[in-house]
Protein backbone atom coordinates (compact mmCIF):
# COMPACT_ATOMS: atom_id res chain seq x y z
CA UNK A 1 0.00 0.00 0.00
CA UNK A 2 1.36 3.35 -0.99
CA UNK A 3 2.69 5.48 1.85
CA UNK A 4 2.00 9.18 1.79
CA UNK A 5 4.69 11.12 3.63
CA UNK A 6 3.89 14.22 5.65
CA UNK A 7 6.82 16.46 4.75
CA UNK A 8 6.04 18.77 7.66
CA UNK A 9 2.86 20.41 8.84
CA UNK A 10 1.96 23.62 7.07
CA UNK A 11 -1.20 25.69 6.76
CA UNK A 12 -3.13 25.74 3.50
CA UNK A 13 -3.49 29.53 3.74
CA UNK A 14 0.30 29.81 3.47
CA UNK A 15 0.04 27.78 0.28
CA UNK A 16 -2.30 30.49 -1.00
CA UNK A 17 0.14 33.20 0.07
CA UNK A 18 3.03 31.44 -1.67
CA UNK A 19 0.98 30.98 -4.84
CA UNK A 20 -0.11 34.61 -4.84
CA UNK A 21 3.48 35.77 -4.40
CA UNK A 22 4.53 33.67 -7.38
CA UNK A 23 1.67 35.07 -9.45
CA UNK A 24 2.81 38.57 -8.53
CA UNK A 25 6.10 37.78 -10.24
CA UNK A 26 4.75 35.93 -13.24
CA UNK A 27 1.38 37.47 -14.12
CA UNK A 28 1.23 41.29 -14.31
CA UNK A 29 -2.58 41.24 -14.52
CA UNK A 30 -3.01 39.67 -11.09
CA UNK A 31 -4.14 42.14 -8.42
CA UNK A 32 -5.10 41.44 -4.82
CA UNK A 33 -7.66 42.87 -2.42
CA UNK A 34 -8.09 42.29 1.29
CA UNK A 35 -10.50 43.48 3.98
CA UNK A 36 -8.14 44.02 6.90
CA UNK A 37 -6.85 40.44 7.18
CA UNK A 38 -3.54 40.61 5.32
CA UNK A 39 -1.67 38.64 7.98
CA UNK A 40 -4.33 35.95 8.18
CA UNK A 41 -4.40 35.51 4.39
CA UNK A 42 -0.57 35.52 4.12
CA UNK A 43 -0.66 38.28 1.50
CA UNK A 44 2.22 40.41 2.81
CA UNK A 45 4.89 39.11 0.42
CA UNK A 46 2.71 39.91 -2.60
CA UNK A 47 2.08 43.39 -1.20
CA UNK A 48 5.77 44.05 -0.50
CA UNK A 49 6.67 43.15 -4.06
CA UNK A 50 3.64 44.74 -5.78
CA UNK A 51 2.30 47.58 -3.63
CA UNK A 52 0.54 49.23 -6.58
CA UNK A 53 -1.36 46.03 -7.33
CA UNK A 54 -2.83 45.66 -3.85
CA UNK A 55 -6.06 47.24 -2.61
CA UNK A 56 -6.72 47.39 1.14
CA UNK A 57 -10.47 47.96 1.42
CA UNK A 58 -10.71 48.05 5.19
CA UNK A 59 -13.44 46.15 7.00
CA UNK A 60 -15.82 46.48 4.08
CA UNK A 61 -16.26 43.16 2.33
CA UNK A 62 -19.21 44.20 0.15
CA UNK A 63 -17.19 47.03 -1.34
CA UNK A 64 -14.23 44.68 -1.80
CA UNK A 65 -16.30 42.25 -3.87
CA UNK A 66 -17.74 45.06 -6.00
CA UNK A 67 -14.30 46.58 -6.55
CA UNK A 68 -12.96 43.17 -7.56
CA UNK A 69 -15.73 42.93 -10.16
CA UNK A 70 -14.84 46.42 -11.40
CA UNK A 71 -11.13 45.65 -11.65
CA UNK A 72 -11.85 42.88 -14.14
CA UNK A 73 -13.26 45.62 -16.38
CA UNK A 74 -9.82 46.71 -17.49
CA UNK A 75 -8.39 43.22 -17.75
CA UNK A 76 -7.20 42.65 -14.20
CA UNK A 77 -7.43 39.27 -12.44
CA UNK A 78 -8.47 40.14 -8.88
CA UNK A 79 -7.80 37.80 -5.93
CA UNK A 80 -10.06 38.98 -3.10
CA UNK A 81 -9.19 37.49 0.26
CA UNK A 82 -10.87 37.31 3.65
CA UNK A 83 -12.25 34.71 6.09
CA UNK A 84 -14.59 32.22 4.41
CA UNK A 85 -17.57 33.42 6.43
CA UNK A 86 -17.12 37.03 5.34
CA UNK A 87 -16.11 35.98 1.81
CA UNK A 88 -19.42 34.21 1.17
CA UNK A 89 -22.35 34.55 3.55
CA UNK A 90 -21.75 38.19 4.33
CA UNK A 91 -21.51 39.19 0.68
CA UNK A 92 -23.62 36.58 -1.07
CA UNK A 93 -25.68 39.15 -2.96
CA UNK A 94 -22.61 41.09 -4.10
CA UNK A 95 -21.02 37.88 -5.38
CA UNK A 96 -24.27 36.82 -6.99
CA UNK A 97 -24.98 40.03 -8.93
CA UNK A 98 -21.67 41.81 -9.48
CA UNK A 99 -19.48 38.71 -9.93
CA UNK A 100 -21.33 35.50 -10.86
CA UNK A 101 -24.32 36.86 -12.81
CA UNK A 102 -22.03 39.44 -14.42
CA UNK A 103 -19.56 36.68 -15.36
CA UNK A 104 -16.57 38.47 -13.86
CA UNK A 105 -13.14 36.88 -13.62
CA UNK A 106 -12.83 37.28 -9.84
CA UNK A 107 -11.05 34.79 -7.57
CA UNK A 108 -12.70 34.71 -4.13
CA UNK A 109 -10.02 33.43 -1.78
CA UNK A 110 -11.39 32.22 1.53
CA UNK A 111 -9.30 31.31 4.51
CA UNK A 112 -10.34 30.03 7.95
CA UNK A 113 -13.12 27.88 6.51
CA UNK A 114 -14.89 25.18 8.50
CA UNK A 115 -14.57 24.64 12.25
CA UNK A 116 -10.77 24.37 12.33
CA UNK A 117 -10.46 28.13 12.71
CA UNK A 118 -10.94 26.97 16.29
CA UNK A 119 -11.12 29.18 19.33
CA UNK A 120 -12.86 32.17 17.71
CA UNK A 121 -16.02 30.09 17.56
CA UNK A 122 -19.07 29.95 15.35
CA UNK A 123 -19.26 33.64 14.35
CA UNK A 124 -15.97 33.26 12.51
CA UNK A 125 -16.38 29.69 11.28
CA UNK A 126 -18.49 28.68 8.31
CA UNK A 127 -19.91 25.28 7.40
CA UNK A 128 -22.23 26.27 4.58
CA UNK A 129 -19.97 28.18 2.19
CA UNK A 130 -19.45 25.34 -0.29
CA UNK A 131 -23.20 25.07 -0.65
CA UNK A 132 -23.67 28.82 -1.11
CA UNK A 133 -20.97 29.04 -3.76
CA UNK A 134 -21.76 25.87 -5.69
CA UNK A 135 -25.36 27.00 -6.15
CA UNK A 136 -24.23 30.04 -8.14
CA UNK A 137 -24.32 29.36 -11.90
CA UNK A 138 -20.86 29.54 -13.44
CA UNK A 139 -18.98 29.49 -10.15
CA UNK A 140 -16.04 27.08 -9.84
CA UNK A 141 -15.62 25.76 -6.28
CA UNK A 142 -12.27 24.44 -5.05
CA UNK A 143 -11.33 23.14 -1.58
CA UNK A 144 -7.69 22.14 -1.23
CA UNK A 145 -6.12 19.60 1.10
CA UNK A 146 -2.60 20.81 1.92
CA UNK A 147 -0.02 23.52 1.39
CA UNK A 148 1.32 22.24 -1.92
CA UNK A 149 -2.08 21.66 -3.45
CA UNK A 150 -3.32 25.09 -2.34
CA UNK A 151 -0.31 26.74 -3.94
CA UNK A 152 -0.84 24.78 -7.16
CA UNK A 153 -4.55 25.66 -7.16
CA UNK A 154 -3.80 29.37 -6.65
CA UNK A 155 -1.59 29.32 -9.72
CA UNK A 156 -4.11 27.32 -11.75
CA UNK A 157 -7.12 29.55 -11.11
CA UNK A 158 -5.29 32.57 -12.49
CA UNK A 159 -5.29 30.76 -15.84
CA UNK A 160 -9.00 29.94 -15.63
CA UNK A 161 -11.34 32.54 -17.12
CA UNK A 162 -14.33 32.93 -14.80
CA UNK A 163 -15.31 33.32 -11.15
CA UNK A 164 -13.71 30.91 -8.69
CA UNK A 165 -14.26 30.21 -5.02
CA UNK A 166 -11.01 28.90 -3.50
CA UNK A 167 -11.45 27.56 0.03
CA UNK A 168 -8.63 26.87 2.46
CA UNK A 169 -7.97 26.91 6.20
CA UNK A 170 -6.08 28.12 9.19
CA UNK A 171 -4.45 25.19 11.02
CA UNK A 172 -1.22 23.50 10.10
CA UNK A 173 -1.96 20.15 8.50
CA UNK A 174 0.11 17.40 6.92
CA UNK A 175 1.75 18.49 3.66
CA UNK A 176 1.86 15.34 1.56
CA UNK A 177 1.07 16.11 -2.07
CA UNK A 178 3.85 16.68 -4.60
CA UNK A 179 5.51 20.07 -4.67
CA UNK A 180 5.61 20.12 -8.47
CA UNK A 181 2.09 18.80 -9.01
CA UNK A 182 -0.07 19.92 -11.89
CA UNK A 183 -3.42 21.19 -10.64
CA UNK A 184 -6.24 20.42 -13.03
CA UNK A 185 -9.53 22.13 -12.18
CA UNK A 186 -12.31 19.54 -12.15
CA UNK A 187 -10.04 16.52 -12.17
CA UNK A 188 -10.19 14.11 -9.20
CA UNK A 189 -6.97 12.73 -7.75
CA UNK A 190 -6.89 8.98 -7.09
CA UNK A 191 -4.96 8.28 -3.87
CA UNK A 192 -5.60 4.56 -3.40
CA UNK A 193 -7.10 1.85 -5.57
CA UNK A 194 -9.48 -0.41 -3.66
CA UNK A 195 -12.49 -2.65 -4.21
CA UNK A 196 -14.66 -2.64 -1.07
CA UNK A 197 -15.59 0.99 -0.52
CA UNK A 198 -15.06 4.39 -2.16
CA UNK A 199 -13.92 7.14 0.20
CA UNK A 200 -14.26 10.60 -1.32
CA UNK A 201 -12.73 13.42 0.69
CA UNK A 202 -12.02 17.11 0.26
CA UNK A 203 -9.90 19.70 2.10
CA UNK A 204 -8.54 18.87 5.53
CA UNK A 205 -10.34 15.53 5.50
CA UNK A 206 -8.19 14.10 2.69
CA UNK A 207 -5.26 13.35 5.02
CA UNK A 208 -7.74 11.79 7.47
CA UNK A 209 -9.10 9.63 4.64
CA UNK A 210 -5.56 8.38 3.93
CA UNK A 211 -5.09 7.46 7.60
CA UNK A 212 -8.47 5.75 7.61
CA UNK A 213 -7.68 3.73 4.47
CA UNK A 214 -4.45 2.47 6.00
CA UNK A 215 -6.20 1.34 9.17
CA UNK A 216 -9.04 -0.22 7.16
CA UNK A 217 -6.47 -2.15 5.15
CA UNK A 218 -5.15 -3.68 8.38
CA UNK A 219 -8.70 -4.93 8.97
CA UNK A 220 -8.80 -6.43 5.47
CA UNK A 221 -10.98 -3.71 3.95
CA UNK A 222 -9.66 -2.25 0.71
CA UNK A 223 -10.69 1.36 0.04
CA UNK A 224 -10.67 3.34 -3.18
CA UNK A 225 -9.69 6.84 -1.98
CA UNK A 226 -10.32 9.93 -4.09
CA UNK A 227 -9.27 13.50 -3.37
CA UNK A 228 -11.92 15.81 -4.78
CA UNK A 229 -10.31 19.24 -4.73
CA UNK A 230 -12.84 20.67 -7.19
CA UNK A 231 -16.41 20.37 -5.94
CA UNK A 232 -17.75 22.21 -8.96
CA UNK A 233 -17.36 21.18 -11.72
CA UNK A 234 -17.40 17.74 -10.11
CA UNK A 235 -15.41 14.90 -11.68
CA UNK A 236 -18.50 12.73 -12.04
CA UNK A 237 -16.74 10.18 -14.25
CA UNK A 238 -14.17 9.34 -11.58
CA UNK A 239 -16.89 9.02 -8.92
CA UNK A 240 -19.19 6.81 -10.99
CA UNK A 241 -16.32 4.61 -12.12
CA UNK A 242 -15.16 4.02 -8.57
CA UNK A 243 -18.58 3.39 -7.05
CA UNK A 244 -19.52 1.00 -9.86
CA UNK A 245 -16.51 -1.02 -8.71
CA UNK A 246 -16.99 -0.77 -4.91
CA UNK A 247 -20.77 -0.49 -4.60
CA UNK A 248 -20.75 1.98 -1.68
CA UNK A 249 -19.33 5.35 -0.73
CA UNK A 250 -18.26 7.49 2.21
CA UNK A 251 -17.88 11.22 1.66
CA UNK A 252 -15.81 13.32 4.06
CA UNK A 253 -15.70 17.10 4.36
CA UNK A 254 -15.34 19.89 6.89
CA UNK A 255 -18.75 21.30 6.00
CA UNK A 256 -22.41 20.77 6.77
CA UNK A 257 -23.74 17.52 5.27
CA UNK A 258 -26.40 19.72 3.66
CA UNK A 259 -25.12 21.46 0.56
CA UNK A 260 -21.56 20.19 0.51
CA UNK A 261 -19.48 17.64 -1.38
CA UNK A 262 -21.54 14.74 -0.02
CA UNK A 263 -24.73 16.06 -1.56
CA UNK A 264 -23.04 16.64 -4.92
CA UNK A 265 -21.80 13.04 -4.87
CA UNK A 266 -25.24 11.75 -3.82
CA UNK A 267 -26.91 13.57 -6.70
CA UNK A 268 -24.38 12.23 -9.18
CA UNK A 269 -24.92 8.68 -7.96
CA UNK A 270 -28.71 9.04 -7.79
CA UNK A 271 -28.69 9.97 -11.46
CA UNK A 272 -26.15 7.42 -12.62
CA UNK A 273 -25.41 4.60 -10.19
CA UNK A 274 -27.39 4.69 -6.91
CA UNK A 275 -25.39 3.30 -3.99
CA UNK A 276 -25.41 3.36 -0.17
CA UNK A 277 -23.63 6.48 1.12
CA UNK A 278 -22.51 7.72 4.53
CA UNK A 279 -21.70 11.36 5.17
CA UNK A 280 -18.74 12.38 7.32
CA UNK A 281 -19.64 16.03 7.83
CA UNK A 282 -21.24 18.27 10.43
CA UNK A 283 -24.88 17.45 11.03
CA UNK A 284 -26.68 20.79 10.48
CA UNK A 285 -25.09 22.54 13.43
CA UNK A 286 -23.05 25.67 14.09
CA UNK A 287 -19.51 25.23 15.38
CA UNK A 288 -18.09 26.42 18.71
CA UNK A 289 -14.82 27.38 20.37
CA UNK A 290 -12.09 24.80 20.89
CA UNK A 291 -8.81 23.66 19.43
CA UNK A 292 -9.01 22.37 15.84
CA UNK A 293 -8.31 18.81 17.03
CA UNK A 294 -11.02 18.97 19.71
CA UNK A 295 -13.53 20.30 17.21
CA UNK A 296 -12.67 17.71 14.55
CA UNK A 297 -13.16 15.06 17.19
CA UNK A 298 -16.39 16.49 18.60
CA UNK A 299 -18.00 16.94 15.18
CA UNK A 300 -16.76 13.60 13.82
CA UNK A 301 -14.41 14.94 11.17
CA UNK A 302 -11.41 12.61 11.40
CA UNK A 303 -10.01 9.21 10.45
CA UNK A 304 -11.91 7.49 13.27
CA UNK A 305 -15.18 8.91 11.98
CA UNK A 306 -14.36 7.81 8.42
CA UNK A 307 -13.62 4.26 9.62
CA UNK A 308 -16.90 4.15 11.56
CA UNK A 309 -18.82 5.42 8.52
CA UNK A 310 -17.12 2.83 6.31
CA UNK A 311 -18.08 -0.03 8.60
CA UNK A 312 -21.65 1.26 8.59
CA UNK A 313 -21.89 1.66 4.83
CA UNK A 314 -20.41 -1.81 4.19
CA UNK A 315 -23.33 -3.33 6.12
CA UNK A 316 -25.73 -1.53 3.79
CA UNK A 317 -24.16 -2.86 0.57
Amino acid sequence: MKTYIDTGKKDTRSGFGAGLTELGRTNPNVVALCADLVGSLKMQDFIDENPERFFQTGIAEANMMGMAAGLTIGGKIPFAGTFANFATGRVYDQIRQSIAYSGKNVKICASHSGVTLGEDGATHQILEDIGLMKMLPGMTVINTCDFNQTKAATLAIAEHDGPVYLRFGRPKVANFTAEDQKFEIGKAVQLYEGKDVTIIATGHLVWEAIQAAQKLSEKGISADVINIHTIKPLDEKAIIKSVKKTGCVVTAEEHNFLGGLGESVARTLAENNPAPQEFVATQDTFGESGTPEQLMDKYGLNAAAIIKATEKVLKRK
Binding site: F55, A60, A62, A69, I73, Y101, G103
Partner: protein, 282 residues
Protein backbone atom coordinates in the same frame (compact mmCIF):
# COMPACT_ATOMS: atom_id res chain seq x y z
CA UNK B 1 -30.50 73.88 -35.07
CA UNK B 2 -28.64 74.46 -31.84
CA UNK B 3 -26.85 71.58 -30.19
CA UNK B 4 -29.08 71.89 -27.13
CA UNK B 5 -32.25 71.73 -29.24
CA UNK B 6 -30.88 68.62 -30.96
CA UNK B 7 -30.23 66.99 -27.61
CA UNK B 8 -33.68 67.96 -26.36
CA UNK B 9 -35.24 66.36 -29.41
CA UNK B 10 -33.19 63.23 -28.77
CA UNK B 11 -34.41 63.20 -25.15
CA UNK B 12 -38.02 63.59 -26.26
CA UNK B 13 -37.66 60.54 -28.47
CA UNK B 14 -36.07 58.66 -25.58
CA UNK B 15 -39.09 59.51 -23.42
CA UNK B 16 -41.34 58.02 -26.09
CA UNK B 17 -39.16 54.89 -26.11
CA UNK B 18 -39.39 54.58 -22.33
CA UNK B 19 -43.17 54.88 -22.33
CA UNK B 20 -43.65 52.46 -25.21
CA UNK B 21 -41.28 49.84 -23.77
CA UNK B 22 -42.99 49.83 -20.39
CA UNK B 23 -46.49 49.98 -21.86
CA UNK B 24 -45.93 47.05 -24.19
CA UNK B 25 -45.12 44.59 -21.41
CA UNK B 26 -47.19 46.34 -18.76
CA UNK B 27 -44.19 46.37 -16.44
CA UNK B 28 -41.03 48.33 -15.76
CA UNK B 29 -40.00 51.63 -14.21
CA UNK B 30 -40.97 54.74 -16.17
CA UNK B 31 -40.72 57.35 -13.37
CA UNK B 32 -36.98 57.31 -12.68
CA UNK B 33 -36.24 56.64 -16.35
CA UNK B 34 -38.06 59.79 -17.46
CA UNK B 35 -36.29 61.78 -14.74
CA UNK B 36 -32.85 60.74 -16.00
CA UNK B 37 -33.48 61.19 -19.72
CA UNK B 38 -31.49 64.42 -19.99
CA UNK B 39 -28.59 62.94 -18.04
CA UNK B 40 -28.26 59.87 -20.28
CA UNK B 41 -28.66 61.98 -23.39
CA UNK B 42 -25.90 64.32 -22.25
CA UNK B 43 -23.57 61.44 -21.39
CA UNK B 44 -23.91 59.50 -24.60
CA UNK B 45 -24.96 62.19 -27.11
CA UNK B 46 -23.82 65.48 -25.61
CA UNK B 47 -20.08 64.88 -25.83
CA UNK B 48 -19.66 64.27 -22.11
CA UNK B 49 -18.35 60.73 -22.52
CA UNK B 50 -15.73 59.62 -25.00
CA UNK B 51 -17.14 56.21 -25.79
CA UNK B 52 -17.08 53.50 -28.43
CA UNK B 53 -20.34 51.92 -29.56
CA UNK B 54 -18.44 48.99 -31.08
CA UNK B 55 -18.21 48.01 -27.41
CA UNK B 56 -15.41 46.28 -25.65
CA UNK B 57 -16.10 44.94 -22.14
CA UNK B 58 -12.76 46.20 -20.78
CA UNK B 59 -13.45 49.74 -21.99
CA UNK B 60 -9.79 50.64 -22.34
CA UNK B 61 -8.99 54.08 -23.79
CA UNK B 62 -12.57 55.31 -23.43
CA UNK B 63 -14.81 56.70 -20.71
CA UNK B 64 -17.13 54.12 -19.20
CA UNK B 65 -20.43 54.30 -17.36
CA UNK B 66 -22.10 52.16 -14.71
CA UNK B 67 -25.80 52.29 -13.88
CA UNK B 68 -26.21 51.32 -10.26
CA UNK B 69 -29.99 51.83 -9.96
CA UNK B 70 -30.65 49.23 -12.63
CA UNK B 71 -34.43 49.51 -12.57
CA UNK B 72 -34.27 52.56 -14.82
CA UNK B 73 -33.18 50.24 -17.63
CA UNK B 74 -35.68 51.66 -20.18
CA UNK B 75 -33.79 54.96 -20.46
CA UNK B 76 -30.43 53.16 -20.57
CA UNK B 77 -31.61 50.77 -23.31
CA UNK B 78 -33.14 53.55 -25.38
CA UNK B 79 -30.03 55.74 -25.25
CA UNK B 80 -27.65 52.82 -25.92
CA UNK B 81 -29.77 51.65 -28.84
CA UNK B 82 -30.04 55.13 -30.31
CA UNK B 83 -26.28 55.64 -29.79
CA UNK B 84 -25.45 52.67 -31.99
CA UNK B 85 -24.76 49.93 -29.44
CA UNK B 86 -27.53 47.65 -30.79
CA UNK B 87 -30.47 47.91 -33.19
CA UNK B 88 -33.11 50.29 -31.86
CA UNK B 89 -35.96 47.96 -32.79
CA UNK B 90 -34.62 45.53 -30.18
CA UNK B 91 -36.42 47.82 -27.70
CA UNK B 92 -39.48 45.85 -28.83
CA UNK B 93 -38.18 42.89 -26.80
CA UNK B 94 -37.88 44.71 -23.46
CA UNK B 95 -38.70 42.30 -20.62
CA UNK B 96 -39.89 39.60 -23.01
CA UNK B 97 -38.76 35.98 -22.92
CA UNK B 98 -35.44 35.27 -24.70
CA UNK B 99 -34.56 38.97 -24.82
CA UNK B 100 -31.19 40.62 -24.24
CA UNK B 101 -33.12 43.50 -22.66
CA UNK B 102 -33.78 42.00 -19.24
CA UNK B 103 -35.94 43.85 -16.73
CA UNK B 104 -32.74 44.96 -15.08
CA UNK B 105 -29.54 45.27 -17.14
CA UNK B 106 -27.16 42.32 -17.26
CA UNK B 107 -24.00 41.23 -19.00
CA UNK B 108 -25.40 37.73 -19.03
CA UNK B 109 -27.26 38.13 -22.32
CA UNK B 110 -24.35 39.94 -23.97
CA UNK B 111 -26.07 43.25 -24.62
CA UNK B 112 -23.43 45.76 -25.81
CA UNK B 113 -23.02 48.71 -23.49
CA UNK B 114 -23.68 46.84 -20.26
CA UNK B 115 -20.58 46.10 -18.17
CA UNK B 116 -22.14 44.81 -14.96
CA UNK B 117 -25.52 43.55 -13.84
CA UNK B 118 -27.48 45.87 -11.58
CA UNK B 119 -30.85 45.74 -9.95
CA UNK B 120 -30.06 44.62 -6.47
CA UNK B 121 -29.28 48.13 -5.24
CA UNK B 122 -26.17 49.59 -3.70
CA UNK B 123 -23.46 47.78 -5.65
CA UNK B 124 -22.68 50.02 -8.62
CA UNK B 125 -20.40 52.51 -6.88
CA UNK B 126 -18.05 49.71 -5.77
CA UNK B 127 -17.83 48.30 -9.28
CA UNK B 128 -17.18 51.78 -10.72
CA UNK B 129 -14.46 52.22 -8.12
CA UNK B 130 -12.77 48.98 -9.17
CA UNK B 131 -12.96 49.97 -12.82
CA UNK B 132 -11.48 53.39 -11.98
CA UNK B 133 -8.58 51.69 -10.17
CA UNK B 134 -8.02 49.44 -13.19
CA UNK B 135 -7.82 52.55 -15.40
CA UNK B 136 -5.14 53.99 -13.14
CA UNK B 137 -3.16 50.73 -13.24
CA UNK B 138 -3.48 50.72 -17.02
CA UNK B 139 -2.34 54.36 -17.17
CA UNK B 140 -5.56 55.09 -19.04
CA UNK B 141 -6.55 58.69 -18.41
CA UNK B 142 -10.21 58.23 -19.24
CA UNK B 143 -13.00 58.63 -16.72
CA UNK B 144 -15.48 56.35 -15.00
CA UNK B 145 -19.04 57.62 -14.53
CA UNK B 146 -21.67 56.10 -12.27
CA UNK B 147 -25.31 56.93 -11.65
CA UNK B 148 -26.96 56.15 -8.34
CA UNK B 149 -30.46 56.71 -7.09
CA UNK B 150 -30.98 58.75 -3.96
CA UNK B 151 -33.07 56.06 -2.29
CA UNK B 152 -30.30 53.63 -3.18
CA UNK B 153 -27.91 55.52 -0.91
CA UNK B 154 -29.77 53.92 1.99
CA UNK B 155 -27.75 50.78 1.20
CA UNK B 156 -24.63 50.71 3.41
CA UNK B 157 -22.28 49.38 0.76
CA UNK B 158 -22.36 52.80 -0.92
CA UNK B 159 -20.78 54.37 2.11
CA UNK B 160 -18.03 51.76 2.19
CA UNK B 161 -17.26 52.73 -1.39
CA UNK B 162 -17.59 56.46 -0.72
CA UNK B 163 -15.09 56.15 2.15
CA UNK B 164 -12.69 54.14 0.04
CA UNK B 165 -12.82 56.47 -2.96
CA UNK B 166 -11.89 59.56 -0.98
CA UNK B 167 -9.40 57.77 1.27
CA UNK B 168 -7.55 56.47 -1.77
CA UNK B 169 -7.84 59.59 -3.93
CA UNK B 170 -9.77 57.90 -6.74
CA UNK B 171 -10.04 61.12 -8.74
CA UNK B 172 -10.99 59.63 -12.11
CA UNK B 173 -14.48 58.82 -10.88
CA UNK B 174 -17.62 60.95 -11.25
CA UNK B 175 -20.58 59.64 -9.27
CA UNK B 176 -23.90 61.30 -10.03
CA UNK B 177 -26.77 60.96 -7.59
CA UNK B 178 -30.26 61.26 -9.03
CA UNK B 179 -32.00 63.32 -6.38
CA UNK B 180 -35.66 62.89 -7.25
CA UNK B 181 -36.69 62.46 -3.65
CA UNK B 182 -38.88 59.44 -4.40
CA UNK B 183 -38.69 55.72 -3.77
CA UNK B 184 -41.17 52.84 -4.00
CA UNK B 185 -43.01 53.39 -0.73
CA UNK B 186 -43.11 57.19 -0.92
CA UNK B 187 -40.80 60.16 -0.70
CA UNK B 188 -37.29 59.55 0.64
CA UNK B 189 -38.25 62.03 3.34
CA UNK B 190 -41.03 59.77 4.60
CA UNK B 191 -39.37 56.39 4.01
CA UNK B 192 -35.96 57.21 5.48
CA UNK B 193 -34.80 60.84 5.65
CA UNK B 194 -31.15 61.02 4.58
CA UNK B 195 -30.37 64.53 5.70
CA UNK B 196 -27.93 66.81 3.94
CA UNK B 197 -26.46 64.81 1.10
CA UNK B 198 -23.94 67.46 0.14
CA UNK B 199 -22.62 67.68 3.69
CA UNK B 200 -22.43 63.92 3.90
CA UNK B 201 -20.33 63.51 0.73
CA UNK B 202 -18.14 66.45 1.73
CA UNK B 203 -17.62 64.99 5.18
CA UNK B 204 -16.40 61.82 3.49
CA UNK B 205 -13.87 63.87 1.52
CA UNK B 206 -15.49 64.21 -1.91
CA UNK B 207 -15.55 67.21 -4.20
CA UNK B 208 -19.28 67.85 -4.43
CA UNK B 209 -21.17 69.97 -6.95
CA UNK B 210 -24.83 70.38 -7.75
CA UNK B 211 -27.06 70.52 -10.79
CA UNK B 212 -30.18 72.35 -9.66
CA UNK B 213 -32.37 71.27 -12.55
CA UNK B 214 -31.32 67.89 -13.90
CA UNK B 215 -34.07 68.10 -16.52
CA UNK B 216 -32.66 71.25 -18.11
CA UNK B 217 -30.36 70.08 -20.89
CA UNK B 218 -28.10 73.13 -20.76
CA UNK B 219 -27.66 72.79 -17.01
CA UNK B 220 -26.89 69.08 -17.30
CA UNK B 221 -24.30 69.63 -20.02
CA UNK B 222 -22.70 72.51 -18.14
CA UNK B 223 -22.76 70.63 -14.85
CA UNK B 224 -21.19 67.46 -16.20
CA UNK B 225 -18.60 69.48 -18.13
CA UNK B 226 -17.71 71.22 -14.88
CA UNK B 227 -17.53 67.85 -13.09
CA UNK B 228 -15.06 66.58 -15.68
CA UNK B 229 -12.86 69.61 -15.12
CA UNK B 230 -12.69 68.78 -11.43
CA UNK B 231 -11.29 65.28 -11.96
CA UNK B 232 -7.60 64.50 -11.56
CA UNK B 233 -7.25 66.73 -8.53
CA UNK B 234 -6.97 64.17 -5.74
CA UNK B 235 -10.66 63.80 -4.95
CA UNK B 236 -13.53 61.77 -6.37
CA UNK B 237 -16.26 64.01 -7.76
CA UNK B 238 -19.91 63.81 -6.73
CA UNK B 239 -22.65 65.46 -8.76
CA UNK B 240 -25.90 65.92 -6.87
CA UNK B 241 -28.46 66.26 -9.62
CA UNK B 242 -32.02 67.24 -8.74
CA UNK B 243 -34.55 65.74 -11.13
CA UNK B 244 -38.29 65.28 -11.32
CA UNK B 245 -39.44 61.68 -11.37
CA UNK B 246 -41.70 61.17 -14.39
CA UNK B 247 -40.36 64.29 -16.13
CA UNK B 248 -42.11 65.22 -19.38
CA UNK B 249 -45.42 63.52 -18.65
CA UNK B 250 -47.62 65.80 -16.56
CA UNK B 251 -49.56 63.13 -14.70
CA UNK B 252 -46.43 61.15 -13.82
CA UNK B 253 -44.48 64.07 -12.37
CA UNK B 254 -43.87 64.83 -8.69
CA UNK B 255 -45.13 61.49 -7.38
CA UNK B 256 -43.71 58.08 -6.56
CA UNK B 257 -46.84 56.49 -8.04
CA UNK B 258 -45.11 55.87 -11.39
CA UNK B 259 -41.91 54.47 -9.93
CA UNK B 260 -42.72 50.98 -11.13
CA UNK B 261 -46.06 51.15 -12.93
CA UNK B 262 -46.89 51.06 -16.62
CA UNK B 263 -49.40 53.38 -18.31
CA UNK B 264 -52.56 51.85 -19.80
CA UNK B 265 -53.49 52.46 -23.46
CA UNK B 266 -55.20 55.75 -22.82
CA UNK B 267 -52.48 57.03 -20.50
CA UNK B 268 -49.87 56.08 -23.09
CA UNK B 269 -51.63 58.13 -25.77
CA UNK B 270 -51.81 61.15 -23.45
CA UNK B 271 -48.14 60.78 -22.50
CA UNK B 272 -46.97 60.33 -26.10
CA UNK B 273 -48.98 63.39 -27.17
CA UNK B 274 -46.91 65.38 -24.70
CA UNK B 275 -43.71 64.02 -26.28
CA UNK B 276 -44.15 64.15 -30.05
CA UNK B 277 -42.01 61.93 -32.29
CA UNK B 278 -38.69 63.55 -33.22
CA UNK B 279 -36.28 60.89 -34.51
CA UNK B 280 -38.88 58.28 -35.44
CA UNK B 281 -40.32 55.47 -33.34
CA UNK B 282 -38.75 52.01 -33.51
Amino acid sequence: MSKIKELEDFATQVRRDILRQVHKVNSGHPGGSLGCTEFFTALYQGGIMEHKPEFNMDGKEEDIFFLSNGHISPVFYSVLGRSGYFPVDELNTFRLINSRLQGHPTTHEGLPGIRVASGSLGQGMSVALGAAQAKKLNKDNHLVFALLGDGELQEGQNWEAIMYAAGNKVDNLIATVDLNGQQIDGSTETVLPMGNMKAKFEAFGWDVMEIDDGNDMQQVIDGLTEAKSRTGKGKPVCVLMTTVMGNGVDFMMHTHAWHGKAPNDEQLETALAQNPETLGDY
